[in-house]
Symmetry: C2
Subunit: 175 residues, 2 copies
DNA sequence: ATGACGTATGTTATGTTATAACAATTGCTG
DNA sequence: CAGCAATTGTTATAACATAACATACGTCAT
């Protein structure tokens, strides 16, 4: 069992793509959790039980998930967790680059390329809610160029693109 | 007095630029209000008293302003306005393209090019809070190209770039 | 002018998202 | 196992936003 996971072998084939309707999502979750373990171990960061469960819940599907939605599913039969528990876990996962926050939606989504330090670009379908992460260097380049023309240095770009995914666009046309 | 205002004559020299520290801000507000009047008249939209006052408050400075901050300044000596009053005015101003919402900050900022229908790109200084609007076609192009490569049609891009403006960057270096 | 209608605003209550502050627990290290 | 730092639990509240219904206002046909 190699501890160091090569990006090529584990990266889901989702970068810039929307998942197929019937794909093996358990596999997506599995990969994400394994990557998280590996990354945290490398860094000496502690992927505790709460944090792992929150990460798992963020990965329940390929849509951004709200903190309170996570909270609902985090409950331990008898006692419900409180907001700070979830927000602290989210804060940790954000800091480790394991998830991203979607500002438009006040929601969180699993990162598909956690090995790289980056701010992604997000394609958010207004119809089905599916959200894909893009890592487009041309967009980055254009942004940095445009900003520096105004004397501005970009540190944390937020790029969230609402629109229609291919599937929903074809539905709209046909139905 | 011409009713139709040519963009060239009124557009503030701020597109993609941060305002000078000592600029005549009363002029910025004045221009914004006049443009708003003109645009609403053309469209048969009613720029009522509440709406004009909210627009004026959004333009108090070149930083995004929160709804509750507006609320505080909207009070009429005796009775304070309620949240829905402000939110409804903001909704109207957004619909008319007279202001933009900054998602990262849950805040609103005056649009510097209200005659054009557009989603701007925003440069937000993390140090001084000053925020400038960019209308960079290269960024738009890169975004649409990147998205369509994933089969995605962008309808409403959100581009909010946090970083350092020229002034604050030089302060950082010197001090 | 007046009544009917649509738009705008006032008012009350509540929903949703997020954090402050402090206590208790856990895990690591000497 | 004592001491310390990191994590989680718990209580309360802050910050942002909207639902629902009442009132006022503008305008247009009669």
């Amino acid at each position: 069992m190699s501890r160091k996971v090569s990006p090529a072998s584990v990266a889901p084939a989702l970068l810039g793509a929307f998942p197929e309707p019937g794909h093996d999502h358990a596999h997506c979750v599995d990969v994400a959790l394994k990557q998280a373990e590996s990354i945290c171990q490398e860094r000496g960061a502690r992927l505790t039980d709460v944090r792992r469960r929150v990460l798992e819940l963020v990965w329940r599907n390929h849509r951004p998930v709200g903190a309170y939605e996570i909270l609902e599913h985090l409950g331990n039969s008898r006692k419900r967790a409180q907001p700070p528990t979830v927000y602290r876990a989210l804060e940790f996962l954000l800091a480790q680059g394991l998830i991203h926050r979607i500002e438009r939606l006040n929601a969180y989504i699993g990162c598909t390329a956690p090995e790289r330090d980056h701010d992604g670009q997000f394609l958010i379908c207004r119809d089905c809610g599916a959200t894909a992460e893009l890592l487009d260097r041309r967009i980055d380049t254009a942004i940095h160029a445009g900003a520096s023309a105004a004397g501005f240095t970009v540190e944390h770009p937020t790029v969230e693109l609402e629109g229609l995914c291919a599937k929903c666009r074809s539905h709209d046309h046909h139905g």
